[in-house]
Symmetry: C2
Subunit: 126 residues, 2 copies
Amino acid sequence: MVSSRQTQSIRLVWEVFDRSDNAFSVVELVQMHKDSMNKTTVYRILDRFEKEGKLHTFLGKNGLKWYAKCNNCSSKQHIDIHPHFQCNECGKVECLSIDVKIPKVAKHHIEQANMLLLGQCDECVV
Amino acid sequence: MVSSRQTQSIRLVWEVFDRSDNAFSVVELVQMHKDSMNKTTVYRILDRFEKEGKLHTFLGKNGLKWYAKCNNCSSKQHIDIHPHFQCNECGKVECLSIDVKIPKVAKHHIEQANMLLLGQCDECVV
DNA sequence: TTATATTTGCAACCAAGTTGCAATAAGTGG
DNA sequence: CCACTTATTGCAACTTGGTTGCAAATATAA
Ligand SMILES: [Mn+2]
Ligand SMILES: [Mn+2]
Ligand SMILES: [Zn+2]
Ligand SMILES: [Zn+2]
């Protein structure tokens, strides 16, 4: 279901993404809002933002869910599919605006390619 | 820790992989051995096989852990890194022997690229 | 066959995520 | 400004995948 009311909690969660272009894990998001709302609420709001095309999600290296702002997506479709990077040192996650060409596989129909790059980020690289 | 004894349980878990080139989720593996061993044992044996370079693991579309046979890996290193495919219809997972060239990202050091392709497998494609 | 160290079972635990339902609070119209 | 309707939230309980500590079992070397 898509949000139809502008609540305090919705504003608070959105602010985090509005102020930064980083990706945030669901664990961070629950943690940073733990004094102002229930974790269920955080999960539900993130869910709605995704359905509305405001945020997109992907899985980090341990299968943890991450959220980041969308560009030009809508409740109709998510169009900004791109690879993500996660730093093995500090754990930070970034959206990468590079194109991955989807490989062809005989007799298969490929709909989507999820790519997660692992390594050291600009702050952790030696 | 690497196996130093050949037990019944170890033999049973290995047989599954020996008989097929499929990938198996940890959930399937626990399920199929539930009458002959404890789930903890399954987890521990899979763990050892990975450390020994007999199996490699990766995450499927819901963050679930999957295991598949290695080719020419050892306890020293896993060398057969490749993309995986998961069918959106039947859930089946396959190792793909295709090369993915690792993209360069400015100021980052990329160590590894995990790629998961999603779509319809040969049996589910229309 | 015995000794020893590895492996296993079990029960309890943990973390991420979900559900049902009652309470609360946006938004609407009067 | 007030009442009403219904979306949203809090809460507690639950589910699932995965881990841990420790005592019991068992593979192997002597
Ligand atoms: Mn992204
Ligand atoms: Mn594989
Ligand atoms: Zn870093
Ligand atoms: Zn299929």
